[in-house]
């Protein structure tokens, strides 16, 4: 499949600008970003702190409005959707994995995983049953009724990944998924995310500054000072390093 054929199913940003604040206090976080993320591969969004990674991923996920530019996700132009439509779009199509897991502390692992299903209209009983199956398939069958506070960091992140995938979203957005866990667990988590990312219908974007996870990427987009400083496939990178 060529990149052109896949554009409608992936994520495309055209000249995206994002300003925070107004007047003298205005800060430009993104300065005309053009990015394409294709399905069936793992795309990393990397760069130093303050380069605009989090802003860009927030816009791609439909949780933040760009100041200008076009953002097309899975064939839908996000900037043309109302707030309510955007919420419904996220509920059906986007899965989130957060740096700090963001599990609801009062809910058990299964209940946490069930939340996206409930948001999409499932009953609690059906959602928890489906969530429990998901946790079993991810090797967390014995943690179904455990509260997040009783889980290790790695287990919490796996529960968070289960929550992100349980409603079968086509866009998976991961924000620093390995930064709050040790290297070994981070490796296991990235293996799991890569496995998910390689599914042909799925678009996966991972924001990270952890160089140890670069090996899992198919494509690496580098941001610097609110602009795309580099956008290359890992193959091209490898060839480049070989030739130099």
């Amino acid at each position: 499949m060529t990149a052109d054929l896949l554009v409608g199913q992936g994520v495309t940003c055209r000249n995206v600008i994002k300003d925070y604040g107004t007047g003298d206090a205005r800060v430009r976080a993104l300065r005309g970003v053009d990015v394409e993320v294709l399905p069936g591969e793992l795309t990393l969004l990397v760069g130093p702190s303050g380069c605009g990674k989090t802003t860009l991923i927030s816009i791609l996920a439909g949780t933040l409005e760009p100041t200008s530019g076009e953002v097309t996700v899975l064939g839908r132009e996000l900037t043309r959707l109302s707030k309510r439509e955007k919420g419904a779009f996220r509920a059906q199509n986007v899965g989130f994995v957060f740096q700090q897991f963001n599990l609801l502390p009062a809910l058990t692992a299964a209940e946490n995983v069930a939340v996206p299903l409930v948001i999409n209209g499932s009953t609690k009983a059906a959602a928890v049953a489906q969530a429990s199956e998901m946790l079993h398939s991810m090797g967390l069958g014995d943690k179904v009724n455990t509260l997040p506070s009783q889980l290790s960091g790695g287990q919490q992140q796996r529960v968070a990944i289960a929550r992100a995938l349980v409603h079968k979203p086509r866009l998976l957005v991961c924000d620093e998924p390995t930064s709050a866990i040790d290297a070994r667990t981070g490796h296991a988590i990235m293996t799991l995310i890569r496995e998910v990312a390689l599914q042909p219908d799925r678009v996966t974007v991972v924001v990270t500054h952890d160089q140890r996870v670069f090996e899992f990427a198919d494509r690496i987009v580098t941001l610097e000072d609110g602009r795309v400083a580099g956008d290359e496939s890992v193959e091209a990178r490898f060839e480049q390093s070989q030739s130099s």
Partner: protein, 381 residues
């Protein structure tokens, strides 16, 4: 979504109990102070309530409350008796006087003179002595609190002698009375004797008490009396309402106790509102996560309202329950405490607590509605 809202709320026990405590405190304060207010108001009518077995009170048209004594003509008694629907009517004297006790001390007291032959309007519950003994010469009966006031540290008994207006009066009984608004003893005697126990005046009769014929509506008979005699005729409840309204309008009681009730309301609003708001602020990341995952604003508002109404309901129940227990215990151990809890106070407190819960949730709802779901991503730019 209700289950998520409730689990979020009760998951943090410390904050959950703090919010419930705030609303319980407000509910308790509002109920307790309103109960005391109602108790005080009710006491203004205690002498009306203690005169039992009559349907209609007839009095001067300008009377505004029970102690507002304006004598009417003796002829008015016969005019009332002549009204259709009146079974019987008797005169009632109500005045105040000075009694000299055997130890030489003086005591102000309230004197009530009831019909000589029927003793209609006399209290029903005698603690010592017999009501019929009032028919004896120079006899009086005294209320329990009044007896202890005049003869402290002595057990209730008969045979005590007082002197009023140079006339001798003998205590032939002690009756149980409702707590009065004033602290003076309330003494009952026959009408014919009452006239000797107070200094002579031209007119002595402030009230006529009437009983309706069986099956005749009290209000209907009262209207007939009013129309035919030109006097003011009220049912027992009507006269109690008139008296209470006077005290409400012309005394500082409503403003004094009302201030405390209002304070309870504001303190409750402040404690519950602030704690609930802080609870929401501290859980903003959780709300943000739900928002990012696509939960609609309507459902988030529903979750917050569910949480607010739950803590409101629990706090209300605890507050009213504690106020009731307080009332029962306090009335047993402190008979002077006025406390009465009608359903209107319970309902009013419920409305106040509902208002507190809604005010608390409005601030939280506003905060969640303006929340950008992007908050869930760490860092900023």
């Amino acid at each position: 979504m209700t289950w998520i809202a409730l689990k979020m709320l009760t998951g943090d026990r410390g904050k959950y109990f703090a919010i419930v405590f705030g609303i319980t405190f407000a509910s308790l304060l509002i109920t307790e102070q309103s109960g005391i207010f109602c108790g005080v108001m009710l006491r203004t009518t205690s002498q009306i309530r203690d005169i039992e077995g009559v349907d209609v009170w007839v009095m001067n048209p300008n009377v505004r409350y029970f102690d507002d004594l304006k004598a009417i003509s003796d002829d008015d008694l016969y005019r009332v008796r002549g009204v259709s629907g009146v079974d019987w009517a008797v005169s009632l004297y109500r005045g105040s006087g000075q009694a000299q006790l055997s130890n030489g001390n003086y005591q102000s007291l309230i004197l009530i003179g009831i019909d000589d032959s029927t003793l209609a309007g006399a209290p029903k519950t005698m603690l010592v002595g017999k009501l019929g003994d009032l028919q004896n010469a120079d006899s009086i009966i005294v209320d329990e609190a009044g007896f202890h006031q005049m003869w402290p540290d002595e057990p209730l008994n008969t045979g005590k002698v007082i002197e009023m207006n140079d006339c001798r009066a003998v205590v032939v009984g002690v009756y149980r009375a409702s707590q009065t608004w004033m602290t003076m003893p309330v003494v009952y005697t026959r009408f014919s004797q009452a006239v000797f126990l107070v200094p002579a005046v031209r007119r002595l009769m402030p009230f006529v008490l009437a009983k309706c014929k069986a099956g005749r509506p009290v209000d209907d008979v009262a209207h007939r009396i009013q129309a035919q005699t030109g006097l003011q005729a009220l049912s027992k409840q009507g006269f109690m309402n008139l008296t209470m309204m006077y005290y409400l309008k012309h005394t500082g009681i409503p403003i004094n106790i009302g201030t405390t009730v209002l304070l309870g309301f504001f303190v409750g609003c402040a404690i519950a509102g602030q704690t609930f708001y802080l609870f929401t602020v501290e859980n903003l990341k959780q709300f943000g996560t739900l928002k990012a995952m696509g939960m609609s604003d309507r459902r988030l508002v529903g979750m917050i309202l569910t949480q607010a109404l739950l803590v409101g309901g629990i706090g209300y129940g605890l507050g009213v329950g504690l106020a009731t227990i307080y009332g029962i215990i306090a009335q047993r151990s402190m008979p002077l405490l006025a406390f009465f809890l009608p359903w209107q106070v319970v309902a009013g407190t419920g409305i106040a607590v509902l208002f507190i819960s809604l005010i608390s949730s409005i601030l939280s709802i506003r905060r969640v509605l303006v929340l950008e779901p992007a908050i869930v991503f760490q860092g900023g730019a």
